[in-house]
């Protein structure tokens, strides 16, 4: 091995070791940031965490741009990706206060064998609704969470919280790499793509919360890769894998499933277009037709979703055009939801990646026009069409539909998955242009002796380009990824489930032998479903939308008396009732007033005080 190469390898190993130290330190600092009471992760992150993460990310980027085995690079990216998607799960005691807690409330019932035949616990009216409910993402996620928790013998809450961050961290960088590699055969650009996926805030957010939709995104990404692979092969295994991943994508969430199948339809048409030799006009017409059909599949499916989910009442409408001012319509068309209430920095962070990707794709298509025999044209056309479908579908959902069962911004994750490889290619082409320039203008090997002999201008140019390549570009990209985290993890949020709320729920569960019901606000319900599940007949917490539960809490708040607790016990067939009241949720004044009235009522017992007096649990027993 030449001496310079040996030196480089040594330097690379030192860099890798330093990276591992930095990433280890980042994990430790993240764990040190764990708190019992916070609204957002930004409030409580250790001050050294972001600088350390920035240094680790920049160093990783420098390693990715160097010559190293792809497997090692991907392993580093996987570790990094797990770290960047674990903020909620590490920092908050019960993860992010969002859909994931509601899912946990239901999945917990499966884990504790409280319900049979999956969620929902009661049979549904129609056969198709029942089949839909059985094969709904919630039951699939329940299966995964329960299997893992039992296999590892670990706390169910921890397994649920880390399920998606870990699976996302391990499995999403791989298709990003493979998709990019499939149509570029460029390893460095491909590894860059798998890391730059973290520069897309929506993708990062969905990778950080444990909901079935996030699982669906993972399977969608793999189905996309195999679709791309299938364009150039006739292997039956690839076809089987496309179908398998699309099926699992549908099993996890209808949105990801529908998108997988619409792109599958498009991919098949592209494949037949590629094979078509005799009649190119017919092939082109079928391509356009299938593009329109693929783009229509999602909006139409959402309309017909009511067949399986009667609560969904999605309709096509032009109401927004009549109701909204023209500038708002233009804003919604151009940047969608970002037109409301977001600051410029967030808008930029969310649109910069997709815009760069769109520009790069357009440039590549322009180059193909001039060179019709170029390789991997079909792959690029297919990805461009898929990207356009995401853009069009988002606008259809946003402007022409109402009563959607989900927010339209979830489509941005698909868009980001397709955009990441092109952003990486754009970045990599800048890097390689710089490198070529450096090679052309500098002596082939830079040594101290060589530098002394070379003219000053060449030395300066060489050194500044070397600096740009190995330091400036990793720093810039690292900065972009870290800044994106500020848009991925919310800056404003309600108070997350606190440690003492969980402690109170656990205390009740561990110290009550009889069947019991808990009256509390929505935040108490969230805490309850994390530990015992929702509407558990043995440990009853009313579900989030239950009006009776809400009314009972309002009545207890106004007049803490056994009357309402008895009512709750009769309603839920339990023999003990608890009433939980929390200071940060009610405000100090109302909290103090409710607590003092509760203490004055001799029939109520104080079952526990938690969080240094911030949470009171009152109890009342039947008879």
């Amino acid at each position: 091995m030449p001496h310079s190469k040996q030196q480089f390898t040594k330097l690379l190993r030192v860099g890798e070791l330093l990276y591992l130290l930095l990433v280890g330190l980042s994990f430790s600092l993240l764990f040190l940031s764990r708190t019992d009471e916070a609204h957002t992760v930004w409030e409580v992150l250790n001050t050294a965490f972001i600088p350390t993460l920035f240094a680790a990310t920049s160093l990783l980027l420098a390693i990715l741009l160097a010559s190293e085995k792809v497997n090692y690079k991907l392993l580093f990216i996987i570790v990094h990706s797990i770290l960047m998607h674990s903020f909620f799960s590490v920092v908050f005691p019960a993860g992010d206060l969002s859909g994931q807690q509601m899912y946990l409330g239901r999945i917990r019932l499966v884990y504790d064998s409280v319900i049979f035949h999956g969620w929902p616990s009661n049979p549904l009216e129609t056969v198709q609704s029942q089949i839909y409910a059985w094969f709904n993402g919630i039951n699939f996620q329940a299966a995964l969470s329960v299997v893992f928790a039992r296999m590892f013998s670990m706390d169910f809450l921890a397994v649920h919280l880390f399920l998606v961050p870990v699976l996302w961290g391990i499995f999403t960088p791989i298709p990003a790499y493979l998709i990019t590699y499939t149509f570029t055969q460029n390893e460095k650009a491909a590894v860059l793509a798998s890391l730059l996926l973290s520069a897309f805030p929506y993708a990062t957010y969905f990778g950080a919360i444990s909901v079935p939709n996030s699982l669906g995104y993972i399977f969608f990404f793999y189905s996309l890769y195999f679709m791309l692979k299938n364009l150039d092969s006739n292997d039956s295994k690839t076809t089987f894998l496309i179908l398998a991943f699309s099926f699992f994508s549908l099993l996890s969430h209808y949105l990801t499933g529908i998108m997988s199948f619409s792109l599958l339809f498009l991919a098949l048409t592209f494949k037949s277009y590629k094979a078509e030799k005799s009649s190119p006009t017919t092939a082109k017409i079928s391509l356009v037709t299938s593009f329109i059909l693929s783009a229509s599949l999602l909006p139409l499916s959402l309309i017909y979703l009511r067949f399986f989910r009667p609560v969904t009442q999605t309709v096509f409408t032009l109401d927004k055009f009549y109701e909204l001012p023209p500038e708002e319509i233009v804003g919604l068309t151009l940047i969608g939801e970002l037109t409301y209430a977001f600051d410029l920095k967030t808008i930029l962070l969310i649109i910069i990646g997709p815009t760069l990707a769109l520009l790069w794709m357009t440039y590549q298509l322009y180059r193909f026009k001039r060179n019709p025999t170029a390789n991997h044209q079909t792959s690029l056309y297919f990805l461009f069409a898929a990207f356009l479908i995401m853009l069009i579908d988002y606008r259809i959902l946003k402007l022409f539909m109402e009563g959607l069962p989900l927010n339209e911004e979830r489509l941005w994750v698909f868009r980001d998955f397709i955009a990441a490889p092109f952003v990486a290619l754009a970045v990599y082409s800048v890097v390689s242009s710089l490198r070529n320039f450096l090679r052309a203008k500098s002596p082939s090997t830079i040594t101290v002796a060589g530098l002394k002999k070379s003219p000053k201008s060449i030395v300066l140019r060489g050194l500044s380009l070397l600096l740009a390549l190995n330091i400036l570009i990793p720093l810039l990209l690292g900065g972009w990824i870290i800044f994106s985290l500020s848009a991925a993890y919310p800056q404003v949020a309600p108070l997350q489930t606190t440690g003492y709320e969980l402690e109170a729920v656990r205390y009740i569960e561990e110290n009550t032998r009889e069947k019991y019901v808990v009256i509390g606000d929505i935040w108490t319900i969230f805490a309850g479903e994390v530990i015992v599940g929702i509407s558990n007949p043995r440990a009853y917490y009313f579900d989030e939308y239950n009006k009776t539960g809400h009314d009972l809490f309002v009545n207890m708040r106004q007049n803490p008396s056994p009357q309402w607790m008895l009512l709750a016990m009769n309603y839920t067939d339990t023999s003990v009732a608890f009433f939980i009241v929390t200071e940060p949720r009610l405000g100090a004044e109302e909290f103090n007033s409710v607590v003092s009235r509760g203490l004055q009522n001799e029939q109520l017992t104080v079952a526990g005080v938690f969080g240094a007096g911030k949470l009171y649990v009152f109890s009342y027993r039947k008879g």
């Binding site: 299966a143 296999m151 013998s153 699992f248």
Partner: protein, 128 residues
């Protein structure tokens, strides 16, 4: 590279499991997981046992479907397929009744058996 050579060797041994020793090993791991679950409930035992289960069956599936890929990707793909299989069979168990400890153990046994059978079937298919 020594590591990759080492992993290749392990993979080769597992996939050429003529006497089904690794399938048997997988069953033993399931029994260990079951004993841990009912007696000790310790992640110190659960985690390594699960890792062995994932390694054996992930390699079976990775080898069956991604023989032409690099060993690293084979392992990743195989593990993902195994997770999908576990999830699907677990889902069926939930729909049929529930996923208590007994049915969970059955899910692990069925998944291990299926992985081994798929590996054998693909191996004989590739040989012909």
């Amino acid at each position: 590279m020594k590591t990759s050579y080492g992993f290749d060797k392990i993979e080769q041994r597992i996939t050429h499991d003529e006497r089904m020793l690794f399938t048997l090993g997988s069953y033993i791991v399931v029994i260990i997981i079951l004993i841990n679950l009912s007696e000790f409930q310790s992640p110190m035992l659960g985690l390594p046992a699960s890792t062995i289960y994932f390694l054996i069956n992930g390699i079976f599936l990775g080898h069956a479907f991604f023989k032409k890929e690099d060993a690293f990707f084979r392992l990743i793909f195989g593990t993902l397929l195994l997770i999908m299989l576990l999830g699907f069979i677990g889902l069926l168990a939930i729909i049929i009744y529930n996923l208590d400890v007994t049915r969970f153990t059955l899910v692990l046994f069925i998944t291990a058996t299926l992985s081994s059978l798929i590996n054998r079937r693909m191996k004989s298919k590739n040989a012909t």
